[in-house]
Subunit: 450 residues, 2 copies
């Protein structure tokens, strides 16, 4: 938990300076809330809770058998399970917003750090239980919200001392691609192909678009867009011209132009606010297309090879499915497990994170233990983590305990020190040893370098 | 979460100064780990997770029917559910200690703050999901561990500014009651009766013991013990005499005398360490008898009527059931929900806990928003929670937002201030308003009283 708490505490401290409030939602949601929100595959990965009490008492099993006598597990599980474990934080958040819409002050800024559960086959990097860490603002269309998320990302990784690249795209611009190349209904196919540019290269992307039925002239328009280079302002200007009839097709995309307006506004705000991390437009950035409707974000560590460590975007109708339409929101999710791997890989966890205790008082007997207790208390009252070894075991055993727990300071205060009113403290790293007046807590604090 | 986090953060800060490390265990445990640990009633209250995949595909339903054709839900649920949600933090902790015994440094000091789930009928003060907050040390018999828990309780409630009474008893002394009154096999009956002394009075307690088969002379011995008064030292001395053959029965209880030794040692340590809260022996204190084997603790708020807000004790064989016998431990659990009620009832939550934001910059337009962004950033970098209202809505709406979120400071920095290079800040509580140089962040900080 030490490393995990370090990450969460850092992220939370930043969320708070932006006025986001933490909420928790229950682990269990009604299955009716969860089913159908994550696709067919997601439905299968939901953990279902057996109804309490006599769950099977009133079930007519024959009615759940197919014509060949096989039991339909899916149908029967719906009969005996009303609740499931949350699969992500987004759907419970949407349910929460709709349920509490009359108590919430919009724009509503919340964050949520909780485990989620998926009935996946466990493997490296994929767990049945893992933490998500989401921050969202809902009920405002302003690009200032997008800016705020970029600011949060920038600050979090500055505090974690990890250099990152923030990549931004806009779902409307991707729609613009499809419109100006003359295949407005193929936006998903086009984006899925473009999304692979990094991995498979331009030729393979073009092949895939051919397979999906795009014409050579349409592909040429997309190639033209992907070849755009220059600064962010130059890229936006070139795209604006292409979306405004300047491409080989001569077609205009109003949606694409709207997306460019949003990008331009966002980058203007990013300049005004002062962001330390590099932020760039990535036209091949796609992410969960069916879901997002405006800005899309992805964050990569610059000095460590791993997938994106943070991502998100704007969605225009998250709560509509629960009966509250027209509520636009934007959010990002921090990938806590990957961030953990990055900090481990780059050795960026603070030193001493794993040693929870600063000073161990060895136990030299009942009277000696009583003698050091007030000193331990005084140090603890000043915030120092102090242990008094509970048993007067052999010193070797107590040394081993300090060693295994990485405790840097050991006090072996025995009968002699007690008689003289002293406290003995040894720095186990440097070997330096000092003797203090029992009452001189401040000097002990200095020696502990605190 | 604001109030809950305040309690947890306070408790955690204290745990850490005593060198306890936080662990988390997964929400799901194998049902074989959970079943049979909480009694028959507890088994019924376990939430069971339906096996993933084709849970019912291979089930022969006929084999789960009784002779009258009714389905045996309990047996069938064992067939289709391998996992359940944790019911408390103790059993998962015991499982964890046994599983990781070769990596753990004993004595092992851990705390755990996580939700638990019980399939109870929800009602006021009883929830299907609620937090437990446990701290334990396992692998040491020393009374210094008991002392440490008392110190932790004392410090936590001092920080929360709640006056408490710490009540202590010892399971061995309760066994001594039964032994010296001549009914060593009736320790549970006797203690269950004594436990009700506060509620039903001495006469009713005596009636109950009569019903359980105790003789009048046995009851007289117990009455003699319960009538003991005086200081802690006097109580212990009187009991020692009674347990050592000095009661009407003349019987000696070695176990009872051992319990008195432990109590005496613990109170000696409490004196040496310096505890601010009153700590007293309560001979009628029982708590989950089947479980504890030594000290028993209970903490009551002195200024607020509610049940115990913290409790625990020593157990000698928690891990034995999982194959690691002879491992003694002692722990306490903080009742977070009740502590929340106490803090609410006594109005002891810090002011401003619910207002997550200190300063709101009203949004007077795109240019004005850009103008204040660097100021907002500078304040956030100094730890102040600042919001920039995302939409340039009517001022009334922005005021309402500040009001509903209890934001104490509002900046209405418009075109005039912008032109003059100024920032305007108003204290919404006092009405005082001031104008600052845009770059003079320190003066703004002073005005925010931070």
């Amino acid at each position: 938990m030490a490393g995990r708490n370090y990450i969460f505490d850092t992220i939370k401290s930043v969320f708070k300076t932006f006025g986001y409030a933490q909420i928790d939602t229950p682990a269990m949601e009604n299955l009716s809330t969860l089913l159908g929100k994550y696709g067919e595959e997601g439905d299968k990965l939901l953990f279902r809770i057996l109804n309490s009490g006599d769950a099977f008492g009133k079930v007519n099993f024959d009615s759940f058998k197919d014509s060949d006598g096989a039991v339909n597990s899916v149908a029967l599980s719906k009969e005996v399970c009303e609740k499931g474990l949350r699969y992500d934080l987004t759907v419970p958040f949407a349910r929460y917003v709709v349920q509490h819409q009359n108590e919430i002050s919009f724009p509503f800024k919340r964050f949520q750090i909780q485990p989620v559960w998926r009935a996946d086959r466990p493997q490296k990097g994929r767990y049945r239980e893992f933490y998500q860490c989401d921050v969202d603002v809902i009920g405002s269309n302003s690009q200032l919200n997008e800016l705020e998320l970029v600011q949060i990302v920038d600050k979090v990784f500055a505090l974690l001392d990890v250099r990152v690249l923030v990549k931004i795209n806009n779902r409307k611009v991707l729609t613009g691609f499809a419109e100006v190349c003359g295949f407005p209904d193929k936006v998903v196919d086009i984006t899925v192909a473009i999304d692979k540019l990094d991995k498979i290269g331009l030729d393979a992307v073009k092949d895939e678009m051919r397979e999906k039925g795009l014409t050579e002239s349409a592909i040429a328009v997309i190639e033209q867009i992907l070849a755009l280079s220059g600064s962010t302002a130059e890229k936006i200007a070139s795209m604006r011209s292409l979306m405004n009839g300047g491409s080989a097709s001569g077609l205009v995309s109003e949606t694409g132009l709207k997306g460019l307006d949003e990008l331009e506004e966002l980058f203007g705000l990013i300049d005004a606010a002062g962001i330390s991390s590099p932020v760039e437009i990535d036209l091949s950035l796609a992410r969960g297309l069916n879901y997002y409707t405006g800005a899309i974000f992805e964050v990569k560590a610059l000095d460590f090879a791993i997938g994106s460590i943070c991502g998100g975007g704007r969605y225009d109708n998250l709560t509509g499915i629960f009966g509250l339409p027209g509520m636009s929101g934007v959010g990002i999710s921090f990938g806590a497990d990957r961030i953990y791997d990055v900090l481990s890989g780059l050795d960026k966890f603070p030193k001493g994170l794993k040693s929870s205790t600063t000073l161990l008082f060895a136990n030299m007997g009942v009277d000696e233990a009583r003698y050091v207790l007030p000193v331990a208390k005084a140090l603890r009252d000043r915030g120092v983590a102090v242990e008094v070894y509970p048993e007067s075991s052999k010193l070797k055993k107590q040394f081993d305990y300090a060693d295994r727990k990485n405790i840097p300071f050991l006090s072996i205060t025995g009968a002699n020190e007690m008689e003289a009113g002293k406290i003995n403290v040894k720095n186990l790293v440097s070997g330096e040893q000092k003797v203090f007046e029992k009452a001189d807590i401040e000097s002990i604090m200095d020696f502990l370098a605190l």
